[in-house]
């Protein structure tokens, strides 16, 4: 087992390295560099300034040199400076990561709370009216473009009914006396983004729960349990759901990995200062440092979560073993 883990970790590191070079290369192919951005916002910059700034930022060196110097900096723990905001990347990303974390975790938990009971309900009564209705909503959830839904939600709740705010993450400029007041206020701003994000996940999770629960309930041992006279509760939860949980856990683990890559479009729409929006603005603004760090974080998280999901699978299901 240990061997397996070690091997996977080494492979993961290799993958991260290669991916970082590919990402760096891709970003270089994008037209316009940070100096161009400066020029477009300040018409008085002269050609001499442009040259000076270019060599200042090392933009006139070939790509592999810049990549090596960047990689060297990272390894030493210096994550670099954001060229657009002019502060260290860590300062920029810290709060953004925190905000995205709150949003993603809340939305994940919310969708699980709703999806799992729904999925189980459908599995217990397949092809009934309830099943059809829930299925329809699940499919609608998977099929709706999240940004469109966000816009519709804003129109309905923020503009027409005026009960929820249209964006942001807190009432700007407020200082909070108690944690409870802070929770209430920030919670108000989270409702619409969470709704808009979860609808897709609810659809996916409930479909998945339904199908894996159906699979589990089809097994012979369920019939045996029933025949033995166990109550429906015990049969469903202890025997059915436990078995359905296995594939569900892996899916959830994979979803956890997307927590830090952020819901880019939803965050932009709701002006929520999270990592997704930061990534988008840094890519469009050619802010290499921030973009690369965000990429690396996402990639690492996904690979780690994959590994964790595989291991978890082995732990939960005693039939699976790793050489």
């Amino acid at each position: 087992m240990l061997n397996f883990i070690l091997r996977r970790i080494v492979q993961t590191l290799l993958v991260i390295l290669i991916l970082s070079y590919v990402c760096f290369g891709l970003m270089n192919l994008m037209p316009g560099d940070p100096v161009e951005m400066m020029i477009s916002s300040n018409p008085k910059i002269t050609a001499a300034d442009v040259e000076r700034l270019r060599s200042f930022y090392g933009l006139d060196q070939p790509m592999y040199k810049r990549y090596l110097s960047w990689a060297g900096d990272i390894v030493q723990g210096e994550l670099g400076y954001s060229r657009t905001y002019r502060i260290p990347v860590t300062e920029m990303m810290g709060p953004a990561l925190g905000h995205t974390f709150i949003l993603s975790v809340a939305s994940l938990v919310f969708s699980l709370i709703i999806a799992i009971p729904l999925g189980i309900l459908c599995a217990l009564k397949p092809n009934s009216k309830v099943d059809y209705v829930v299925n329809l909503f699940s499919f609608a959830g998977i099929s709706v473009p999240s940004f469109w839904l966000g816009i519709v939600l804003i129109i309905i709740f923020a503009v027409n009914f005026q009960i929820l705010p249209a964006g942001g993450y807190q009432t700007t400029g407020m200082a909070y006396e108690t944690y409870w007041a802070e929770f209430l206020d920030k919670g108000k701003y989270l409702i619409l983004p969470i709704l808009s994000l979860s609808i897709q996940s609810i659809g996916r999770f409930s479909r998945f729960t339904r199908s894996s629960m159906l699979e589990a309930m089809r097994n012979d041992f369920i019939r045996t349990a029933r025949a033995k006279g166990l109550t429906a509760q015990v049969v469903i939860w202890k025997h059915g759901f436990r078995n359905a949980l296995i594939p569900l856990v892996t899916i959830v683990a994979l979803s956890v990995s997307s927590i830090f890559s952020g819901a880019l479009i939803t965050e932009s729409l709701f002006a929520y200062p999270g990592v997704g929006r930061l990534l988008y603005t840094s890519i469009m603004g050619n802010d290499f440092n921030v973009a690369m760090i965000s990429f690396m974080i996402s990639v690492t998280m996904v690979l780690l979560m994959n590994l964790a999901a595989d291991l978890l699978y082995g732990v939960i299901d005693p039939r699976v073993s790793y050489k």
Partner: protein, 581 residues
Amino acid sequence: MKNINILLVAVLLLSFSACTKKNKNPEPAPVPVAAATPEPPKLNNSEIKIGMIQEFETFNPLIANMAATSLMSKLVMRYLVTIDADGKWIPQLAKSIPSLESGSAKLVTVAGVKKIEAVWEILDNAVWGDGKPIICDDFAFAIKVASAATVSIAEKEVYTQVEKVTVDPLNPKKCTFLYDKAKWDFYQLGTFAPLPKHLEEKIFNMHGAETAGYEKNSLYVKEPYNVGLYNGPYLIQEIQLGDHVTFVQNPKWFGEPAKIKKIIFKLIPNTGTLEANLRSGTIDMISSMGFELDQALAFEKKVKAEVLPYTVLFQPSTTYEHIDLNLDNHALKDIKVRKALNYSINREELVNSLFEGKQAPAIHNITPKDAWYTDDPAKVTIYKYSPRDAERLLDEAGWKRGPDGIRTKAGKKLSFTLMTTAGNKTRELVQVYLQNGWKQIGIEVNSKNEPARVFFGETTKKRAFDSMALFAWVSSPESSPKSTFLSTNIPNAKNGYSGQNQMGWINKEVDKLCLALDLEFTHEKRIQIVHNILKYYTDEVPVLPLYYRSVMSVIPNQLKGFRLTGHQFPETNEVEKWNLE
């Protein structure tokens, strides 16, 4: 089932309370404690929230160059001189503007080079936020920092144009600036900022030697709430990059007292939700960096129809929307063709139907509020909409109509490609309008759009456009046109594609006039020179003028004292005059 649900809810609550923590900021001024009730329906001078669409950065006046930062920095930073909303240069930190006539400035010759010397005196009561007086050394220090090779300042020339600062030994607020060249606009130090020497000097001495050392360690980054860094009517209470900035009144402000106690600028990056935020009360007004023209027009209609408590303001600006013609194109070489193109643009109809008259038609690159402007037909050639004249010119030039209506000459069609930035609705509208108009006189124009970064980064910079490029120049009042008119400023591979004469216009007379303009110290004579330049410009039509853009803003009806400026010194320059009661 119940157990798991309870467990999950408990986890949710725990994660919320654990993850959220209070923002800590060391504030000198008392902070109003938040009430749990929603904001009052009527606005008052305690707070106003302003929405804007563009990102901002840290507020170091030498390093910052984003337009949004420039908008907000006028609340906390004031300069020697500035341009007011009427387009005139006025002193802000200085007592008065030095000039040759008053004797406070004089021409000198140093080592055979003509230079100019000016005496500047700072207001007696001008102080930084911590009470220390603003002295000439602060400006000298700024020049020192800007000249260092390790600082990534964008507009170096603004600072390096002042070679030497000699402080009056009796009065630390009075000094003489020695400029590196003799030029008439020496007093236009609108972007020349002082740095608080008593705070920043030790940082610069410690870290200035390493590349970007100063800007990474500057107090503007490390301690942005230090009051000594600012000298404007407001101080920064809270700044959160990517989200918002909160400003409170500066108790040490030496000018007209500001009325509004707290101003919050909120970043909302999506134009669609900007309006939603306004209507739902998350913000109270929209700054000049907010709406697009279509949105502003539509919102104005809504305001009238539903009697909303807002006013939509439009103000003509110094942004000149035009079409650069590539003078190397075989058809555009002929001046008759260019004139015909110009005659066949119905600018009145364009601005009336597409912009509802809110943006004015242009006749050349100088905007109407500029002192150098003229629409005198004796001085410049005016092209009134006349398709007949256009057709006559084209016939004379030898372009005859073909069977499909498009003119041809020697087997070639009179066909051009009009390029502009993709995704810009207004420009696409203008493209279609122009295409239709030109088709009627037999000129075929195809559109080809590129994303802005490619368009400006490659196509216009390297003159890679086939015939026409549609975009805008931003300028300030009375600024020299030499970067776009001098024949030495035609970008090509040899000069590293610097220079903005993207038409490829070569006119020796205009070259001479541009260079003479810099050295002309008399206002009236300068106007003469500019009018002569404009005569050549409108005669030879290297550029097709379209219209002057307007800036827009949405303010609540209660807000008084707000004026849009339409140039690079935005409305926040007069923020102390804003009043909500």
